[in-house]
Amino acid sequence: MIAIVDYRAGNLASVERALRHLGYECRVTSDPYEITYSERIIFPGVGAAGKAVNDLKELGLDRVLKEQFESGKPILGICLGAQIILERSEENESACLGLIPGEVKRFRQPLYGPDAERCKIPHMGWNLLKLARPHHVFKNLSPEDEFYFVHSYYPVPEKAQHIFGFSDHGISFPAAIGSNNLIAVQFHPEKSGRPGLRLLDNFCTWDGRLPFSEI
């Protein structure tokens, strides 16, 4: 069973529907027991970092996530779940979970794209992902595949080894980050059509290990 962590951070049903569509059993849950005994964990979320971290603490899930990260179980962070795994966020100046060293930054304005067109914030819509290193979850994806983003902040891991892919929105920013059994994407695979479903499917078959060359 796949646990989709529910910490009052937005609509999690779309992740659940996508997994069911792919034929996986999953449950939206905030029960520490259920999360601990799941096979894998999806950590989604939309909203503000400060509130999210507080809610996680209130539900006792900050500790559960840390334990599960250390246990080696495959974990997929999505959107806000790719941000609050870092140490701190500029959003509400909040301390975060610190599973990966680094911080979350806000897009500075004004930003301009390659043709001098203005890049609006939030970064909302479809964009490419440029892989920095291979990962099981990106198997069988094409460089031309695009993913659906909606965000005003982006994750900045301290170490290059924790960055798996970049996207461009006026600047190049980390859009896929990870460490050991944790992989996290800033975009919404559950809303990214076929490539997104493929990524979710790949996650569901991942053993939580990185290729030897990437450790």
């Binding site: 779309s14 890049c119 939030p122 909302m124």
Partner: protein
């Protein structure tokens, strides 16, 4: 760099897709769930449903449509029409929509934008704007006025001022519909679209008037729209979303081509 989004729009009445010209003479053209699925497979970047069901008792039908659509398409979709309160928004979002679009209700009660943004996040709140070209005066300096009730009622609100106010209140996106161009298939209102898009920081979806890929090219380049809504052009099968994207790509517009 973001791709320009191509968004089919389905007007839904009593659970059926309809299409009218300038909000009149609607005719049924199909099942919204099947149409949404077909557009998803053709490469639509997002889908917009506009519920034009008149009576409140039948709104449950729309919620059921949303639920079925959410099970079959894995791209964002929004629902507008008849959303007057935070609880209306919640019902649609819980059924599986990504975003809700509010229009007349936001003009009557601008605080609804702020309430929605704080309850669900700005990314969920699309401001629908129905705009009519008028003589410019002190009251309407931009020469574009907000209208409601499907274009029948003028509001005395300047469209540009309203767009900026809505952004400030927390709208995450604007869906800008020209009443003059809507349903005519004679092209989008380029001047209006560029005016609004240049003066807000949130994405602008151009709506009303798409009659050819040329029109879409114009609004996405000269009109500086972030996305373009299409209805008649794709509903009657003269072109597919894929055809539109291929032509836009050939002309140098970045669009999503893998789906």
């Amino acid at each position: 760099m973001l791709s320009k989004r191509i968004i089919p729009c389905l007007d839904v009445r009593d659970g059926k897709t309809t299409k009218g010209i300038r909000f009149k003479d609607n005719i049924d053209i199909g099942d919204p769930v099947e149409m949404a699925k077909s557009y998803y497979e053709q490469g639509a970047d997002e889908i917009v449903f506009y519920d034009i069901t008149a009576s409140n008792e039948r709104r449950e039908i729309m919620i059921e449509v949303v639920r079925k659509v959410a099970e079959q398409i894995f791209i964002p979709f929004s629902v507008g029409g008849g959303i007057r309160s935070v609880s209306d928004m919640r019902a649609v979002l819980l059924a599986g929509a990504e975003k809700v679009s509010i229009n007349s209700a936001a003009i009557r009660n601008p605080d609804l934008i702020a309430q929605g943004a704080s309850a669900f996040g700005s990314q969920c709140i699309v401001l629908g704007m129905d705009v009519k070209r008028v003589e410019s005066d002190e009251r309407i300096p931009s020469g574009y006025e907000m209208v409601i009730d499907g274009g029948r009622t003028r509001t005395g609100l300047d469209a540009l001022a309203w767009a900026r106010k809505a952004e400030y209140l927390g709208a995450g996106e604007i869906c800008l519909n020209s009443i003059d161009a809507d349903g005519t298939q004679k092209g989008y209102e380029i001047t209006l679209t560029a005016l609004i898009s240049d003066n807000v920081n949130i994405p602008v979806i151009a709506s009303g008037g798409a009659g050819s890929t040329e029109d879409m090219y114009a609004v996405l380049t000269k009109g500086r729209a972030d996305a373009a809504l299409v209805a008649s052009l794709v509903h009657y099968g003269s072109v597919t979303i894929g055809d539109i994207k291929e032509e836009l790509h050939m002309r140098g517009v970045k669009v999503r081509r893998n789906w």
